[in-house]
Subunit: 199 residues, 4 copies
């Protein structure tokens, strides 16, 4: 499943915000966009440990992703600090005839194949996009672009890397984490490790 | 499809907010929760015509509703001034065996029946809830509780009563409007009439 | 300082949302708006202990309040689940000549009196509202109407009843809590008690 | 007054989102971060004219700014798509003794000078930061870091470049616009020109 980081903000935007707030820019050890060790630790200390997490909102991440309808539905529950644009089945279903894909599992593969055969039959029968969309299963894959800031991403990881999360959104969460710049991962590692260890 | 208004805020909460802002509570002609004619007109004039729509945020509406998965998906695009709790298929799919319903159309009825037969077969075969959910079509009906404030509801009506909106979310929008208290409808009528007349 | 609860949602709106989600409305022991003991415990268990706090968004509280400019400024940091309408000094400063008030302390009383004398002098000298507002001290009292939902109110209490919060916003937080219906206080008590005990 | 753009997102993040949605990436004429003419026009057409303004949320702008307390107060009314970190007077008032500044006007200059003399006297008298802050006038200048996305920035410009907006927030709005990258200004020009011409 596609999960490609397209853009992200340099860490210095967060450390600069914190130093603004405390009026100690003179202590910064960053050079331009290159974060210094002190500033790096500062972000973690203030944004995470001291709970001034609003400073993490200056760090934005944008991905090109694929996800199942099941996963997309879960985003009705993530409304803050997130932006997304999803391929509309209202305009592309007939057009992409024969290219529709699903995210399945060993146990659901055959059922999903039979369902997609019915979907493709309806496409052949000339139903319009708005009608066909009613037939698409929740395993159906959407493509799109998504943006989190570091604060909303922490919240997403906290809920969605838990062992009791649905396995598809959990997979998305881990893919998002893996595709982050290595230098940013320290902001999220504790959250994920706590969840893996069963909190 | 179920669309039952459970609770709403008296209009006086909006008129009182406006009179606070302008410091002219002495001009209010409301009695307790009973809105007066002047206050009623004031809400429309300030909230709608003068664009101080933040005063409309004090009016909240809560419904018990049913909607298709297709409609629920659209709520990933409505994130402000909305709260919702939706029945989780993760906990209820096996439990509600034989009671699953879809919102169909003349042209999709047969296809959807065949798809739901496959879903029910998978339920019989003992697939777990997280797997079965991948098979559910976008016509599948969810039940839940939803809240809008008058400002976000205006926005929802503006986008979703348009003639080019998907027919199912359009139906939901009209049902929400119809179930509003008559005395509140004047806040939304112009928006809907403009859309019906093709803007 | 004025802090008067104008309106609130019955607890049953939250318990009904939770029972919708779990599909066990048959277990509800509420009668109309009158919350039952089981439903009451359910809200606390699911909304607080199990962290499904989105169900608390159905509970809205509206107050008429007074607060200092200092306190109002802090609301630039509370943006989710809050609505407010504040008396505009842009329209009311000249009009309310002689009625402007400040929230002071023993140590600031004299300084604030001298500053307000200067403000009143400028009003007498005919400066317009937009200019006069630049002179108003942060002790100056605004009047307005504010709305929280139970989720955002929990967050507000968590941050603003701490012993290291500014004493004026702390006072507001305690006043908001005290003016809640007794039957709703259990949703917030633990948060406040933890802060009083120094967490 | 300081208004320095620190960071912004390439326009291609918006055009890529739109092309994702319409599934026509093959029509893109951008090269890496370098926006092409077609993509540039697409953002305007879809984001502005066709009202799919959610695609503008992928464009973020971060500034280091100074603004008066009066202006900062107005941000209690801008809650969506905005992040800010402001220097805290709770920690810096005593520390910055003698360096406090105000944004004044010809008519308020003398009054503000007299008020700041009282503030400085209170600082000398040893009042603590939380007390001194109650004395600070709304002309007092705060420093901080602020982020808008293109959608929320359009909304801000629409309200705050109007001729009847307070002159200080209007000045901020024009400064924000002037400091945008030239290639991004076309997203905001119509809004501002409409306001200048009196709508």
């Amino acid at each position: 499943m596609l999960c490609k980081l397209l853009n992200y903000t340099p860490l210095t935007l967060a450390s600069n915000a914190i130093r603004q707030s405390h009026d100690n820019q003179n202590l910064s050890d960053s050079m331009g966009d290159l974060i210094g060790d002190k500033d790096r630790a500062l972000i973690d200390r203030v944004g995470n440990k001291m709970k001034h997490s609003s400073t993490l909102e200056f760090l934005n991440y944008v991905w090109e992703i694929e996800m199942s309808t099941k996963t997309l539905l879960a985003f009705t529950r993530h409304r803050i600090g997130i932006s997304m644009t999803i391929r509309s089945t209202r305009y592309t279903t007939q057009k992409n005839k024969g290219k529709h894909q699903v995210q399945d599992t060993d146990k659901t593969k055959d059922y999903l194949k039979r369902i997609m055969d019915i979907v493709n039959e309806a496409i052949e029968d000339g139903l319009n996009n708005d009608e066909i969309s009613l037939l698409l299963p929740q395993g159906y894959i959407y493509k799109g672009q998504i943006q989190f800031n570091a604060r909303s991403l922490q919240h997403f990881f906290k809920l969605r890397t838990k062992s009791d999360a649905h396995f598809q959104i959990r997979e998305l969460a881990f893919n998002l984490f893996d595709s982050l710049p290595d230098s940013h991962k320290y902001l999220f590692e504790d959250i994920i490790n706590n969840n893996i260890k069963g909190k």
